[in-house]
């Protein structure tokens, strides 16, 4: 397979290989959940932990070492040679990605998303990833109800796990 020099992505991956990431600033990001739900949760799972599934073998966003701009770039442009799609309308066509156009990509061309995101939505998704997912450990009841709401049984398994004294154990 053709090897390509993808500066920003390569930098991101180098970061990913570095030592454990210090816990970043928290707060914010909840208003950014909509874009994540629409475009990311299918493959990266509701908690961003990734892993296998019908959406492919997705990386963990909880363990990512990328910063916000690097996440935004991957959302815009996808990850060449993998199943991670590009989400910016016109990427590799009217807008270069990793300094490349479609013709340069060959078999490394990432797939096109089923739902394009606007630049502001991409920013919001990147913000959600770095503020609400990155650096987090195992998913919690609080995160689950933030995603699915409190009226469903979707988070009951976390209630059981955390016991009757869990933060929001009652319906």
């Amino acid at each position: 397979m053709r090897k390509m020099l993808l500066p920003a992505l390569a930098a991101g991956l180098a970061l990913a290989a570095s030592a454990a990431w210090a816990q970043g600033a928290r707060g914010g990001g909840e208003g950014d959940l909509a874009g994540f739900k629409k475009a990311c949760a299918g493959c990266h799972k509701w908690h961003g932990g990734g892993g296998g599934g019908y959406g492919g073998e997705a990386l963990s966003l909880r363990k990512t070492q990328l910063d916000k701009e690097q996440v935004a770039e991957v959302v815009r442009c996808g990850r060449p040679g993998t199943g991670m799609p590009y989400h910016l309308r016109g990427a590799y066509d009217t807008v270069k990605c990793y300094d490349s156009l479609k013709a340069d990509m060959g078999t490394s061309m990432p797939p096109e998303t089923a739902v394009f995101l606007r630049p502001t939505e991409i920013d919001a998704v990147a913000n959600y990833v770095v503020t609400s997912l990155k650096g987090k450990g195992e998913p919690t009841l609080e995160e689950c109800t933030a995603f699915f709401g409190a009226t469903s049984r979707a988070c009951d398994i976390y209630r059981k796990k955390e016991g009757p004294d869990g933060a929001t154990a009652s319906h």
Partner: protein, 588 residues
């Protein structure tokens, strides 16, 4: 055959006459509508009705109606349409879709949407009038977050004065046929364990037989029977043997892999009254693509199971893909056909081969590829029914190693792709021609392998050992197999995979495409004789019925399911298909 068809026509004419009097007092009409085992056994004699999910207990999806035939089908037009609901999202799904087969009894139609709402529609008078809608208030987040393959429901079954259906969140619901009120319901599957239900129930002697989905989430599959009178469970047979049961020895290694072995049962099976046997297909082992996690043949995954209908006891099994590393479910319906003096069960497997086994013993008879391209194996050994590369002395099968995902082959391309071959959309069988029509996904795809450990197994989490991407274009076909010879008799190629299923009539076969076309083909030549563009995506099987003495064709239109979320890259034009939920009914 000719004699029995004539007899059927006479009987049908009688029932039609009774119907068209229109002057029956209401209570009498209701009594006549009660569905009994006798009526289910003789469903084919009710020529204008469609009272089984698969039309008859044998799963033929063959209607003897001939008003619409190859000479006039070109004149088929939309008679009426009805917008349905259920397109709301939930869990990981942005919208629901329609996969159901309408049931029609004496002019009353029963259909479901993806979230399990049941609609009763009066089809008399050349239009569709909604009589009632039963909304089961499915917990969409709870179920939708662990539904691997869409917000789906494939329809209802009838018994007595009840309409019997399932919900994605694991319930069996009995609804009063007249009022639309829920008579009773029980939870039979547990989404907390990753279990969901998408199939229609099969009703045998007053027992509602239910299957389960969830092999991608580490479930241990089962088939369960609920007595519709006592509302209690009569039997539940696990498709993965427990400790001490036969077949448990086919789950080896240190991972206690049987507890999360998959083996889901999400497609409605068939029933042979001569032997009181239910024949039901079993899905893939889990984790899907890391077969080294679960050394051994992994019974009864990827198998056809024959169960005693009264007790649920396993009578025989036939396994298609031992120690499956591809996600080659065998959930497909087994059609029960009598050909050449043999009693056969025939199944179009996701692995690309159509199989015939003796349905009294489970003994292999023949297998033939129905897809254009198979790369995972050289073929099926005609002596054993197993893939040529299958080595019973090995615990982990590699088949064609270059096409098999494994720790040593992290990215594997194989054909057919993991959706098949043939997925849930049902086949149909013309008993006069002895032709079997398969809705085919002509496909290859790529799977990236992920090594699983017991720590990877978490409730309500995908447990798949990797995942697919779709760098190759996928098309489809209607492929006919002559069951007398076991050979392919014809192939009608389509631009898109066939995600909807088949209907056979004496000289026609009907199907639909995810790009929106509903079409009729000549039953022998498979030449296209008629097509109508619905403007939506077809993801459901067609059926036919009569009302007021006139024949109609009905099909649900609304693309949902796994395809438009997970496999769309292989059919990029389908990204233009919009969400919808509509019933189309055609007539001359």
């Amino acid at each position: 055959m000719t004699t029995s068809r004539t007899a059927r026509r006479i009987l049908a004419a009688t029932s039609l006459a009774a119907l068209t009097t229109g002057a029956l007092p209401a209570p009498l009409a209701r009594a006549a509508d009660g569905v009994t085992q006798e009526r289910l056994l003789n469903a084919d004699k009710e020529e204008g009705n469609w009272i089984h999910h698969h039309k008859n207990f044998a799963g033929h999806r063959y209607a003897t109606l001939t008003q619409i035939n190859k000479d006039n089908v070109k004149n088929l037009k939309v008679a009426w349409t009805l917008h349905l609901g259920g397109i709301e999202g939930g869990g990981i799904w942005s919208h629901g879709g329609l996969e159901g087969t309408p049931i029609v009894e004496n002019g009353m139609m029963y259909v479901t949407d993806g979230w399990g709402s049941v609609y009763k529609i009066d089809t008399r008078g050349g239009e569709g009038k909604l009589i009632w809608k039963m909304d089961p208030k499915t917990d969409r987040e709870w179920a939708g977050a662990v539904a691997c393959c869409g917000v789906n429901n494939r329809g209802v079954a009838l018994w007595g004065d009840l309409v019997v259906s399932h919900t994605l969140d694991g319930r069996l619901i009995a609804t009063n046929k007249e009022t639309g009120q829920v008579a009773w319901q029980r939870q039979i599957a547990d989404p907390d364990k990753g279990e969901t239900i998408t199939g229609a129930p099969l009703i045998v002697k007053g027992l509602a037989i239910s299957g389960v989905g969830g092999a991608e989430y580490g479930i241990r599959g089962w088939i369960a029977a609920t007595d519709l009178k006592t509302e209690k469970e009569v039997w539940r047979t696990h498709t993965i043997p427990g400790k001490g049961e036969p077949g448990y020895e086919t789950w080896k290694g240190p991972n206690n892999a049987a507890v999360s072995g998959g083996g889901s049962t999400w497609v409605t099976g068939t029933y042979d009254p001569d032997t009181d046997t239910i024949v039901w297909g079993v899905g893939n082992p889990g984790p899907d693509w890391d077969n080294a996690y679960r050394p051994g043949d992994n019974l009864y995954t990827d198998s056809t199971l024959a169960l005693d209908a009264t007790t649920g006891k396993i009578k025989w099994h036939f396994q298609h893909t031992p120690n499956d590393p591809y996600d080659y479910d065998s959930v497909s319906e087994n059609l029960l056909v009598d050909v050449g003096g043999r009693k056969l069960a025939i199944e179009a497997d996701r692995n690309g081969f159509g199989y015939a086994v003796d349905r009294t013993t489970g003994q292999f008879v023949w297998a033939t590829p129905f897809v254009k391209k198979v790369t995972w194996t050289k073929g099926i050994n005609p002596d054993t029914g197993k893939p040529f590369e299958y080595d019973p002395t090995k615990d982990v099968q590699r088949y064609n190693p270059a096409a098999t995902p494994s720790a040593e082959n992290k990215n594997a391309d194989f054909c057919p792709g993991n959706m098949g071959g043939k997925n849930w959309p049902p086949t149909a069988y013309n008993p006069d021609l002895q032709y079997w029509y398969i809705p085919v996904i002509e496909s290859c795809n790529r799977v990236t392998h992920e090594t699983m450990t017991t720590a990877s197994l978490k409730p309500r989490e995908f447990f798949t050992g990797g995942g697919p991407t779709n760098p190759f274009r996928i098309t489809g076909s209607v492929t006919a197999i002559d069951v007398k010879t076991g050979k392919v008799a014809g192939k009608h190629e389509t631009q898109f995979p066939l995600l909807g299923g088949m209907l056979a009539t004496p000289d026609l076969v009907f199907t639909g495409e995810p790009s929106g076309g509903v079409m009729a083909l000549d039953a022998k030549s498979l030449d296209k004789l008629w097509e109508f563009r619905t403007g939506g995506g077809v993801n459901a099987p067609p059926m036919t019925f009569t009302v007021d003495g006139k024949q109609y064709l009905a099909i649900l239109v609304g693309l949902g399911g796994a395809w438009d979320k997970w496999f769309i890259d292989s059919t990029p034009e389908l990204k233009n298909i919009q969400t919808g939920s509509m019933l189309y009914v055609f007539a001359l």
